[in-house]
Amino acid sequence: MSTNKLISLRDAVSRFSTDGMQYASGAALPVGSDAIAFGREIIRQKREKLHALFHCNSQQLNLLAAAGAVDRAECGFSGLEVFGFANGLRRAVESGRLALEDYSNLSMALRFLGGAMNWPFVPATVNIGSDIAWRSAFAPNAHPAEEKIPVIADPFTGKSLGALSPLKPDLAAIHVTLSDPEGNAIMIGTEWSRFELSRAAKKVVLVADYIVDPACSRQFPNLVRIPGVLVDAVVWQPFAAWPQSSPGAYDIDEAHMRLMNERLATEEGTARYIDEFVTKTASFDDYLAAIGADTVERLQKSSSSFLLDPYRHWIKTREEVETLLARNVSKGGA
């Protein structure tokens, strides 16, 4: 008998997040597989002064930064790929409201690996010899910023290397395609650093597009890269990454990506966005209504949807998931 860790999004945020925490999340693809549903709830619960650790920026960090919920952030990539600059994040950085510490897409992953391994540092052959090493938004008066990526000597050859600091976030909200109620999870598409992150964070909440029967995990144990023993809670949220994509499940919502980024470019637009697509979308039904029934149907007709086929048999219906959730509510949670 496996443990049922399913809880509501609201309970997950209220139980596992605090003001000022180091919060790790963000996209596996810079414009996909992002647990942004968790970020929307963070805003609804008015968390603030977050220290965001995002392998890559995503619409979630863009939104949290625009909403003023983040004071400090560390990132590899900080744009929105083909959708351009992340206007909310950009505005917060340019105004000096948010200190953004730059790394690269490999060094962020290596820092999560370092945290997972409990290493004091990770030797780096990247980021050295660049302003990523020499400039620090967290220590702006230090030039070169010797404490960000200090130069160390290889003990075997004496050659110079950079030392990357490890990351152990207080909380990681990780998007997965499928999870069983215990938190055994399958990610369709590339992992980026979700494997390392799930081992580096002090608490792990999964945000899953689909809940599957535990038999699914036992059928594909090689593909369960985040086992339930690492997971504190599981949140079910269809279209959890919207307007970003989830390989196998749904495509990117191009129109909403643009609308969202346009709104986040100004204070007024951000307030409007939050009112319309955050405050008023707390319930499942309101959230799906905000996406729109036609859009939901269209986005699910993805060229990648065949990737979900092997698992469809085990996907739980809404009624089944709600029954599991209700059991936890009556027991007082996972």
Binding site: F77, T190, S193, D251
Partner: protein, 264 residues
């Protein structure tokens, strides 16, 4: 024949970049222009190029147009393996195993250093203040610039982008030139070319300063000099780049189904 072909400057840049990628190489492409150039090479003259993306998508080609991101569903619909960033950018790129990478630049300088982090409008100085315009950060380009055996930079050729010294080095080229790169101890060899909307720049073998190596049939040495922010030297063997062939243009447009490179 090719003189009658109609194509955009962006298409010429993508084709010239694609020509830098050789058959059989292990190659990594960023999103947007560089991905189009890379998949053009694969569709045209380098069918056995082994391409990977930063997050670890292996063996895929874009379906339904230019991907929105490096691992978007459009590049996830015919892959043979999905792995992760430490695999792709670490095991295969930072290790020195990757032959060639293609990266973009908001600003590039005479030693091939790339800035994609921010525009300050002046030297930053001793205190790191927020930029006037925040850009996208280094992403995986720093890792490619550090570890790939060689890399190619693509950029629109404008004076404001081609500067004497970048304000911020997001992805290192040859730093201050000469042997500066070797002294840091990078595993990768550095930028082999800057392909622009006007021509091709290549580094001098000793000084590592980028020189004008070739112009396109629609551009000229004078136009390139006028649009470069440093006093660019002209290489001894400077030449005109051959125009795109019909085969090349057809291959590029098959990859660029959404016509991103044909927008004016």
């Amino acid at each position: 024949m090719s003189a009658s072909l109609s194509y955009t400057r962006q298409e010429m840049m993508a084709i010239a970049t694609g020509r830098e990628i050789h058959d059989g190489e292990l190659a990594i492409f960023g999103v947007g222009l560089s991905m189009l150039a890379g998949y053009f090479a694969q569709a045209c003259h380098a069918p056995n190029v082994r391409s990977i993306t930063e997050g670890g998508i292996f063996g895929a080609t874009p379906v339904g147009g230019l991907p929105w991101g490096i691992e978007c569903n459009r590049i996830s619909s015919n892959a043979v393996s999905f792995t992760n960033a430490i695999d792709a950018l670490g095991f295969l790129v930072a290790s020195g195993r990757c032959d060639v990478g293609v990266i973009g630049a908001a600003q590039v300088d005479k030693f091939g250093n790339v800035n994609t982090t921010g525009i300050w409008g002046h030297e930053i100085g001793n205190t790191y203040t927020p930029p006037v315009t925040r850009l996208t950060g280094a992403g995986g380009a720093n890792d490619i610039a550090s570890g790939a055996r060689r890399f190619v930079i693509m950029a629109n050729h404008e004076k404001k982008r081609f500067v004497d010294k970048v304000e911020y080095i997001s992805s290192p080229g040859y730093l201050n030139g000469g042997d500066a790169r070797e002294r840091i101890g990078f595993i990768g060899g550095g930028p082999s070319a800057i392909i622009t909307t006007l021509g091709i720049l290549r580094p001098h073998s000793k000084t590592k300063e980028f020189e004008l190596a070739a112009w396109f049939s629609f551009s000229s040495i004078d136009e390139i000099r006028a649009n470069t922010g440093w006093d660019i030297r002209v290489a001894e063997n400077v030449a005109q780049v051959p125009d795109p062939t019909e085969v090349e243009l057809a291959a590029l447009r098959e990859v660029d189904k959404t016509g991103m490179l044909r927008k004016k």
